[in-house]
Symmetry: C2
Subunit: 713 residues, 2 copies
């Protein structure tokens, strides 16, 4: 039998208090197991054979309560395990369950998604998530949930910044920082009418239906207000390190990674005063909290043990360093929640870590789109936009050979902005935004995207840190918010300089200068053409000037873009003229023209019809040109339309680097259906063009009937 | 209320039989719900409040039994649902559960993997799979399970061909063919000591722990032997189509996608005679079975209704056309097993198909490697090889910067041979096998691999059929069994001709001719060098002869391989000499030489140390050369070592097509750690070389110390 926690220096008063508690638990705790049937019927009694109350062992020392099953620290003698033990009555069908999570920063925002995916995978109830976030996490999570559109999930945000003053006076050494303390103020931060909530750390993973956890509220006695699992380490016993003096706690104390909170009772019991008083008093002799909120929760519980309801250990299997969790999970037939509470996270060492890692990776890699599934047992208000989308999708004909195209075109992608930590650079005049599209079949290291300026607030994707990129599969995230409208970078060289070069490289300094010189702004609208070249070399030094570029061109190291396969895509740029040009010059649209352009943010967007390979850039240039033509007509159909000149920049250039054919170009080449569908989409595009621009659209008709470019995609 | 099935043309005798059945079910069925606690303790009574026995409604017509909950066809009136209903006692902890599946052909072998993944995801018990397979499925599944090494899963194979004569006399119109009928002979085909088995169709997906299903055996009465879920369609009511005359069945009949079989009782009851008699009699008036085994099961059950135990509908939620399953799942709080029993499979139409598809895709996309997790609650004999592997992995130092390399090197990949249907061509003399390595970061359409001849029995991967390739992610399959040893094809042009070209193209006719002319075989050993060229063009017509190739070379459309970046990798091939060569010529090894070679099957294998980017081909050629040198020494350390001449083939050639840098070359370029590790591995390689070849290995030392090739990877 392992050494167990003994209350140290218990004075007579504390003993009395504990005996009172004992009496309360023995007689006052509502630990019977009458099942509440849905609809309120009384069912057969359930079975909770385990001792749920603290017991005084024969030697008279107080031993802490054995939890429902497989409790680490519970010796074989007092372990009265039953497989039907942890089966509390399920909550009423379709009851809305409330979950609160404190989440700050980029990394926690990624972590919380894995938690949410695991929770949604198993859940059968509607959920209301209460997210206490800083500005970074809010931006990420608000966008993500908005675009995710998971049915029967409601999300509320709370400003962590506004709660900071309530906890910032507490010195804290835990890696979670100030945010780690915010769980303490949830009773006042969450809506007053909210009576119960499950509070989770971002580093937990569900292995079961959260309603089973919620159902444990039913075991609370009339005065219990906090449901917790015991710590599965000896931290609070104070014998882990020399001179380590932990905060006061009952035995091993409790872990606050998973909490059931009766907010109503805590408010009634004066929780605010209670934890502040305890914390202030302890801080007189202790320098800081080591485990953030957990130290304070434990100190309060030590003083008010009647508040706590012990939860079965399987609801918070703690994989900390020195964990004793094996005593829990090796007994349990079921793991419910895994808690990565070591600062080493997945790299923590323990005998079964490979098992737990695999379980975690299951949800890290899980395609969140698959969770967009209705809880048809519990009809709910669809998320904003979801209903129209559903209707539009339902109207599609599955037998239509172009069904997949039309479906893709309607698809709303989950958007995870600033996937990796990113500080946007300070704004400058004439800022230019790179907007790039990356399909998930591209290899990761070449995947990057910096988006700033007018189109989105600020977004950055970069190479996933080696050595585990293979773990981050296409299903983990959806990288959108980038559209292939214009291509440039803010640094002249995109992405982390040390990674493999991305397909297109554009220096932007020159572009910004041109925007200024040309006086482009709200009045004068132009699509600035960045002449495109390409190299077939895998290793290539980017030329620093037009002179250098022309030298490479003459040496045959560079070609004009797609010189061998599809010169007409860029022919109107007029490379011969560009060679000599000192100033921007105007060019005319021609069929198949698909230059890279810099356009103002209010330009027409890309047509989502051309979501796969082919015609996306061509159609966009047609749109720009059609609007320009229309602006020159006496009759303006739409007052917002403005003239788009196509102006070639004399000093800017972009160089295409070799890359593999995309998935879609391969489909285009191999599938007649794909080509037929693209033609059908082109026809529909032209019909729309005619509808908007009348006879002027006739100009583009021949272009639409030409064969498709054999582009690289 | 929906129309319900009425017994048609019931004669007095049939009525009598049914009334007898009714009596039996009312009093004979062991449907009480005493819980058997693990360890044999009697627990509190469970609760099965629903009517489990057929009832005679007030109007006197017989209605079929309502199943445990949400039974389609059960009207609101007779539906006495309880959330705690379908909670039978769990089977004793760690009890071995037996599952039988009939699986034939390539497509079913892929399907069954998705089923197995869903089953393993939720299971908590050791499993024994009994797979009745044809030769194709056996080859695939035996290799897959052998390399998968999932703990606590045993697999036994049974020859479907040997069972064929027992069912081939039955005319059958179902798409599953003869194999669909084989479930009928399981009681005699499976081992005589096997008493209980769960029988599954390949098109089911688990959404719950299979032990819950196994636990339903406890509800069987003393004479019941077959547990089944009712059909969730009106097929057997005979009113789906005009002139449709179904086989006899009780009401809607039962679906045989999920069966609990008491094999012992069936054997005792003379099952063999029973079903044959029934089938023969029915076939006197019916032309064939429409639903394979299911028609016969239903006809037998109609005659012997005492055999059947009705299972809750959630254990076989049938997504057939015209399904009535919604009545089941919309009531159930839990889905247990989903059955894609429409020939349209995922393309079946129903209101909630998107939900079910998403659920299915969860397991289609699930990375089977993540299921290699120990059932640590139930210690089991590790699968063959797993223990050594585990030990080797455990000995690795996680803090070693090269940890990931060493881990990858030890990794045993799951092997799914002949992923797509493939008939190997007939063997020819001097057959040449293409062995190619494909990392999963390559786009799918360029992914193909034909392996035949000496290395593996026969393997073929090809383009995943459009339009859902994006669904087949890297986690769905592991493509190995291919090693990058030699590159050639049997057709001269690899892969489906219409897809994007793969990186390397080699015609083999010339290679086979050379093998013959040179008299290569068991005595004379050579590594035949196939001179390598490259094009930088994305669209390229493969030259048909050396003359054509040389013309392209002179025109600058082709280069010798990696002419710009790393000419020394192929310099010893001596392109100038090759130009004029009429006969094979011998060349000498030099540092960094990494030609594509054709080698006999017993040549040294690739060194798995160099699993990422760099030095795999170089090390292999060093190995070949070292063995050749050694063979020329008087003292043969190992009698199997033979001399490998490096002979350049005068007429064969290979052309490298442009592709994106691999994930690993990008890591190599961006990570100093990666480069350092590669150097460490090279040093270890040379130590091993010295150990085997003594002083002769000194020759290679300078080569090892040279800078790494900036290859394309």
């Amino acid at each position: 039998m392992l050494p167990r926690g003994r209350p140290r220096a218990l004075g007579a008063a504390a003993l009395l208090l504990l005996l009172l508690l004992l009496g309360f638990l023995l007689f006052g705790g509502d630990l019977g197991c009458e099942r509440r049937e849905p609809g309120g019927r009384a069912g057969a009694p359930g079975c909770f054979p385990g001792p749920l109350m603290p017991r005084v062992p024969p030697d008279g020392r107080l031993r802490r309560a054995a939890a429902l099953d497989g409790d680490p620290g519970a010796g074989p003698g007092d372990h009265n395990r039953s497989d039907c033990g942890p089966q509390p009555p399920p909550p009423p069908k379709c009851e809305l369950l409330h979950v609160a999570i404190v989440c700050a920063g980029h990394n926690s925002s990624r972590d919380v998604i894995t938690l949410v995916k695991s929770m949604l995978f198993y859940r059968k109830n509607p959920l209301h998530l209460h997210l206490v976030t800083d500005a970074v996490a809010r931006n990420i999570l608000e966008t993500l949930f908005h675009t995710w559109m998971v049915p029967a999930v409601r999300v509320s945000f709370y400003h962590a910044d506004q709660l900071k003053p309530q906890v910032s006076w507490i010195p804290n050494k835990h890696y979670s920082g100030l945010y780690g303390l915010m769980k303490l103020v949830l009773p006042s931060a969450l809506p007053a009418e909210l009576a119960r909530v499950i509070v989770l750390d971002t580093d937990v993973t569900f292995a079961s239906d959260i309603s089973e956890l919620w159902a444990l509220f039913a075991h609370f006695s009339d005065t219990q207000a906090i449901g917790l699992v015991e710590n599965q380490s000896d931290w609070y016993l104070g014998n882990l390190w020399k001179n380590h003096r932990p905060w006061p706690a009952l035995g091993r104390g409790f872990n606050t990674g998973v909490i059931l909170l009766r907010l109503d009772r805590l408010r009634q019991a004066g929780w605010e005063q209670m934890w502040r008083l305890t914390a202030r008093r302890e801080l007189l002799s202790l320098p800081a909290t080591s485990l953030a909120d957990q130290d304070i929760f434990n100190a309060v519980i030590k003083e008010h043990p009647g508040l706590v309801q012990r939860l079965p250990c399987v609801w918070n299997v703690q994989l900390s360093d020195h964990t004793l969790a094996e005593r829990c999970y090796s007994e349990a037939s079921d793991l419910k929640v895994i808690h990565w509470n070591s600062p080493k996270k997945l790299r923590v060492k323990n005998k079964h870590v490979e098992f737990f890692r695999n379980f975690y990776l299951t949800f890290l890699e899980y395609d969140g789109n698959l969770l967009r599934r209705e809880l048809f047992v519990c009809p709910s208000q669809p998320p904003p936009g979801a209903e129209q989308l559903q209707q539009a999708l339902a109207q599609l004909d599955e037998e239509d050979p172009c069904f997949e195209f039309r479906q893709q075109q309607l698809t709303v992608h989950r958007v995870h902005v600033t996937f990796l930590p990113h500080e946007p650079p300070p704004p400058r005049p004439h800022d230019v935004t790179l907007v790039a599209q990356l399909s998930m079949d591209r290899t990761w290291p070449t995947m990057w995207c910096t988006v700033r300026g007018p189109y989105t607030p600020s977004t950055s994707f970069a190479t996933w840190p080696w050595p585990r990129p293979s773990r981050l599969t296409s299903s983990s995230v959806t990288l959108t918010s980038c559209l292939p409208i214009l291509s440039t970078t803010t640094s002249g060289r995109p992405g982390p300089a040390s990674t493999a070069a991305p397909p297109v490289v554009v220096p932007t300094r020159r572009i910004r200068a041109s925007i200024e010189q040309l006086g482009l702004g709200s009045r004068r609208k132009a699509a600035l053409v960045v002449p495109a070249f390409e190299t077939l070399r895998y290793r290539f030094s980017f030329p620093h000037s037009k002179v250098e570029l022309l030298a490479l061109l003459d040496a045959g190291t560079l070609y004009t873009f797609r010189y061998h396969e599809w010169p007409r895509g860029h022919a109107p740029t007029d490379y011969a003229r560009w060679r000599e040009a000192q100033a921007p010059y105007r060019v005319q649209w021609a069929a198949n023209y698909e230059p890279y352009v810099v356009v103002p943010r209010d330009c027409p967007r890309y047509d989502p019809r051309f979501v796969g390979f082919g015609w996306n850039k061509v159609a966009h240039i047609v749109e720009l040109d059609a609007q320009a033509r229309q602006a020159r007509q006496p009759l303006l159909l739409c007052p917002t339309l403005q003239e788009y000149e196509l102006l070639v920049l004399p000093e800017a250039f972009t160089i295409h680097l070799p890359h593999a054919p995309s998935l879609d170009i391969s489909r285009f080449r191999s599938s007649p259906t794909y080509r037929d569908c693209l033609q059908a989409l082109k026809d529909e595009f032209h019909q729309d063009l005619s509808r908007h621009h009348g006879a002027a659209a006739l100009k583009y008709l021949p272009a639409l009937q030409q064969p498709q470019s054999p582009a690289r995609g």
